[in-house]
């Protein structure tokens, strides 16, 4: 459905510069206040272009000190911002005063938090030389592969007409020399592993495409973005294409390819 031009204008302006009170009210009256799609697009641009550097440890401690001890409703007096309506910034001063009073009782907790942050940092750093990739959380392991493997390729999934693939998107990264890769999905239908599972097939340029390499069986859970490691059963000489099919629980040795959900083909 085409969007009303004025609504689109307000959403764009909110994403780029914020709205004044009148504009904010107008957006509410148009029933579009909850449409975050332009704000998320702006956030995605920022994510794509911002070099990331570590937060200073002292600042991390301050953030932790102000963190809720229970559910976030305990953050009295703080309101999450709406665009164009500055949140009560004075609350930060209130928080500072509260922090001074709480600091003495928080010292042991801060020390524990600092140790935890150091441990997390060491854990993440250990993965950067590529030697401990398997011990990293899956997203970090994928990132480590992209950083360290010179031959890694990234290919976007293309969804088929299969109902499970409606709205599916994502990519597959693969390193030939490491024989290692990861699939990433959003929007692929959540499956009940007792009913069916997804199975990856890797089409090797050097093999008959009747017999692709089994890349492993996996499930999609309702957690949004899902990253799955590729577990190729055989060495792959040259991956030409990746395809995911729907199969019975546990997978199959040879797929009938009755339900292919996504495909990622390397450009030759």
């Amino acid at each position: 459905m085409p969007m009303d031009p004025r609504t689109e204008e307000l959403l764009v302006e909110r994403a780029l510069r914020g709205l004044d009170d009148d504009e904010h009210r107008e957006l509410q009256q148009r029933g579009a206040e909850d449409d975050d799609s332009y704000d998320l697009a702006a956030a995605a641009i920022l994510l794509a272009t911002t070099p990331v550097e570590a937060m200073p440890a002292e600042l991390a401690n301050k953030v932790l000190a102000a963190a809720p001890a229970g559910p976030p409703s305990t953050l009295v007096g703080v309101v999450a911002p709406t665009i164009g309506k500055p949140a009560p910034v004075a609350s930060l001063q209130d928080q500072r005063e509260k922090q001074t009073k709480r600091r003495s009782s928080l010292v042991p907790w801060l020390a524990a938090a600092a140790c935890l942050l150091v441990a997390i940092g060491a854990w993440l750093w250990a993965g950067r030389d590529g030697k401990h990739t398997s011990a990293l959380p899956i997203a970090e392991a994928r990132a480590e592969l992209l950083r360290s493997a010179p031959d890694v390729t990234t290919i976007e999934w293309k969804a088929t007409d299969d109902p499970a693939a409606k709205g599916a998107l994502g990519d597959v990264v693969w390193s030939q020399t490491r024989q290692l890769g990861y699939m990433r999905f959003r929007g692929l239908a959540v499956n009940d592993p007792k009913q069916y599972q997804y199975q990856l097939w890797i089409f090797d340029k050097g093999r008959d495409d009747k017999y692709p390499v089994d890349g492993g069986v996996f499930d999609i859970t309702p957690s949004g973005e899902v990253i799955v490691p590729i577990k190729a059963k055989l060495a792959v000489d040259e991956a030409a294409m990746f395809a995911v099919t729907v199969e019975r629980p546990g997978g199959v040795v040879v797929s009938k390819r009755e339900r292919i959900v996504v495909i990622a083909a390397r450009k030759s």
Binding site: L16, L40, A48, T49, M55, L75, L117, R142, L169, I227
Partner: protein, 177 residues
Amino acid sequence: MTSSPVLARVAAGDALAVRECLARYGALVWSIARRFEPGDAEDAVQEIFLDLWKSAARFDPQIASEATFVAMIARRRLIDRRRAHRRRPATEQLAETPIPDTALRPDASLEAAKAARALGQLRPEQRQVLVLSTCHGMSHGEIAAHTGMPLGTVKAHARRGLSSIRAALLGVPEGQS
């Protein structure tokens, strides 16, 4: 195997999840805050995380990745701070045209990956306006003054550019709801 979201657990009051959230996104928030407010990033970061703890329950993994949601919360707070305190962007950092290198960080979220590809397909002037606006918080007037483009042109580039990125993320034609 999944990259398990942490914000749902933050919303539920899990203290360990709060620490994990900080470990996971602290660098991102700090880097974004420094981009918008290089001289006052510490205050900004603390406010952003307060907003994040409060907004955690709103995160929907079906709509965006956690990193994109966190970046959105950060931008909103930074825009609010700029409007409230009439801060000006640090234009001395923009001596060269800040066209982003669209080679992605390896840990880029799906949205960031798509946004980077879509950015690369925009006309250079649209891309420039969009980056100055979204990543440096410059107003249309400030961008016009910085680039020499007419104000109307800047507004048109910003609107079309952001609509293009949004359409690429959603997989819909531009201007569709």
